[in-house]
Symmetry: C4
Subunit: 286 residues, 4 copies
């Protein structure tokens, strides 16, 4: 596992090194157990927050949910302090994405002691669900997640071009329906009509706003068929990117011996002539 | 066909062997005929259960449906006993998935003689629809189903990472809409708002709950476009996996020299150690 | 173009041969023009039928639509007779799919002279829209359509397994919701609940029936996410099949000289050693 | 960058050449900055138009929005004139797609001085959103967009065959539901029923029209499952096309001996005539 920036540097004292391994790593037995406990705790505390928002449940079990919330808040606070103690560059950690999420998942509970407005606090607290992504550190998932993210990163320009086109289409078609259908049919403004066009193009189709004039329905049908076909574009982009990643055809370097390319990304030897692909491993050839 | 665990072992007496071949196998003419009759019986009995739940039909034909149900129940009971008789390890069969489904598809009808609560029995009885998967044993489908299942199994980690991300997104966005829209617009609790976010992200879009404030609609539009794009991820994963299966990227034979696998279908030399992969072409190496 | 069965056999008299070429073929200038005129006529007559079903239009222009309908009916009748005259085996043509569609597209109009029940006739008449598929005979489309159809045919077993699984899932989940939600929430019978499950799993989501209990919504959310992921399966099957068709990796025959396979479907020479792949073209090698 | 037709020809006077480079090009620092400023201006002016259509905002800020609109209109007019001045063939530019869009984005504002009917003008003005596609000229996107567009262009025949089939299906199924459900259930005419069929097949599912008879719901369920499966077709087409583009199946170099192209990226010998494809490996031929 590549250590994040805030965890690189000179060795720590033995007990801090050990703590670091458990909290930030997932290679040791203990480190993995820590991650599993953490994930279960996050899931339980998020469940408690969700149940707390159901008024009938809050009436009956509010007190218990309040205790659970404080139990997890204190637990996460201790964990946050432990992270600060055993990390090499605490300030970098605090300013990192996970550092902020870790802080945001404990602060709101303390704030409710001083400030009212529980509802907004509720939502900030629920952001601790983002801590769940720590699971991707586990050995089973780290490779898989990396492939998915790399494929997304590689196709980000194409996806941007796609979104750009989609947004332009919904602005044009939304405005068109605004004129055709008019305010009496629910298309009260261009932003609302664009919202309708997005609901339609993405095939969500709530039905809260729907065209009722023949011309409006005709244009809507055109948008639907367009949306039905356009979904092929991001899917095609992503599929092709993953196929490329799987078939490893990204390695464009030719074999220095026979000059052939098309080797896998993880190939050490030319699959056509059997010679080493990279000079560093020359000695490996017989 | 690979025999399931409960059917492996020493030979049975001739007539039990014969019965076993007919009931569990699909290679012989009789074994195939048995499967087809079974599948038609299951379909008919499930249809009868479904019609039985329509009150107007039950009023007029309830007696007939009751007779049909008993006819199939007795037939399936006889079949179940026959399976027990001819299988090598009856206990293992009883505890296997299909053994349980076979039992569950006859028990509820007998129970209705003693217990009321027909509605719940109805649903347990309908689980006999799962027996239909026995069709996948038939020669035409066993290969195809295996490819599909293997591709799913190979991509299970990636699909888990995907579902994980989707569930995190719906929790975050559902909570956001809960705060933005509030109880007066139908977003009465976080669980309900998360339900709405799932309905939206998956592009189902019932419309029973829909945002009505401009900010809520703006966030909803973002979720829709996200959901419209995100569907590319499982599709891409599965497509790439199947492409790999089709184009024979799964050449599972290991290199005779270094023992590593994962070679291309058209590779002559091990891409890890550079030795020839097949003995017949030894002379090609320098 | 491969001639259909009813058009194979001994040569016809010159003028019938000529007519045959124009009506059934698309290779000659006249044959292509005939197809284009036919397609435009079909489109216009279908449009007339559609407009005829709009009550306000029928009131105002009913007489004109009636005339147009008779104009096209007589035109299509003449065409049908011409087809009978110039085809080699008229009886085989009459019984072929297109022969039946051609007949069905003129019969209903004559029947309306004797029988009332115009509504049912309307729908039979509209089946003439199926004649539009004759366009696929045109040079630009025949190849493309063939690839699409072949890919569908190749994956028909896999698609059957997929549909089978989907139908089993909707029966199980539909029945579950029937018990959980009950008749008071619109889930009045198992068939209706299965209909709801299909509406949900396919992400259509009308919203005419929607779960309203928390447990029902929870199960519904599971179905949605399942449906959202399951769509990857047919898409993956079809994409992989087309990728295989495109990359032509279906040619499993090895090169007789160097023994390597993986050649394109349209390759005449081994791409690895340059020798001919098929014995018939041996003389082409230097 | 390939210059459009209206910008090819003899060199211009130095200052016009410079202006041309800034306005039409994106290679120089200044040219890129110009494009970015233009895109931001377009976005802001489109936002102003959208807000202007919200009646509550127009009441409060109408005057400001009117000033913003005139500011951008004059700015775009100056830009349009500058384009006319520095382009080599102004007339060709005026008649080009972007030339028309550029003109359409300023004309309506001037027309509002003489003509009323602001609503229609609003929609024409919003077409300036199409100018945003100029961003695709930027270096980061030009390549990506080209791949996407080329893949679409290559598969246009297949997509046409697909749309053709979809439209035929919705006409047939729409008419069927029109007869089955009838006017009392909202299926008041064939066009409306076809509209419903499109809403259903594309999985949009507004729910404004929904079948209520058992037979109607059965047919609707069939359409949904069909639509759920059919979406695999455009996605498969586009994915396969992109995979082909990615894996270098587009090696467009022709064989130096027989002149045919379409060779694999890793082919050494022409698969049509068996001669070596590249001169460097001549010695490899026997």
């Amino acid at each position: 596992m590549v250590h994040p920036k805030f965890n690189q540097g000179e060795p720590l004292s033995p007990w801090r090194e050990k703590l670091n391994e458990v909290i930030f790593g997932a290679e040791t037995q203990l480190g993995k157990a820590f991650d599993v406990v953490l994930i279960v705790s996050i899931l339980l505390s998020v469940l408690a927050i969700m149940l707390d928002s159901v008024s009938s449940i809050r009436l009956d079990y509010g007190k218990w949910l309040w205790r659970i919330e404080w139990f997890f808040t204190i637990m996460f606070t201790v964990e946050y302090i432990a992270r600060l103690v055993c990390v090499r560059k605490p300030l970098l950690y605090v300013k990192s994405f996970y550092g902020l999420v870790d802080l945001l998942s404990v602060i709101p509970t303390y704030l409710t002691l001083f400030i009212s407005g529980a509802k907004y606090m509720l939502v900030i607290r629920i952001l601790r669900v983002l801590r769940l992504f720590r699971i991707l550190k586990l050995a089973e998932y780290v490779g898989e997640a990396n492939v998915l993210i790399r494929a997304l990163t590689n196709s980000r320009h194409k996806i941007f071009v796609f979104l750009y086109t989609v947004l332009t289409l919904v602005v044009v078609f939304g405005s068109l329906l605004y004129v055709v259908e008019g305010e009496e049919n629910g298309f009260t403004s261009i932003p609302k009509s664009v919202y309708w066009a997005i609901v339609t193009l993405t095939t969500v189709g709530y039905g809260d706003i729907a065209p009722s004039t023949p011309l409006g329905q005709f244009i809507a049908a055109a948008i639907m068929i367009m949306g039905y076909g356009i979904i092929a574009v991001p899917t095609g982009i992503y599929s092709a990117e993953l196929v490329r990643a799987y078939t490893g055809k990204e390695n464009n370097e030719a074999c220095p011996t026979c000059g052939q390319s098309g080797h896998d990304y993880d190939a050490d030897y030319c699959k056509y002539c059997g010679h080493v692909l990279e000079i560093e491993e020359e000695s490996a050839t017989s």
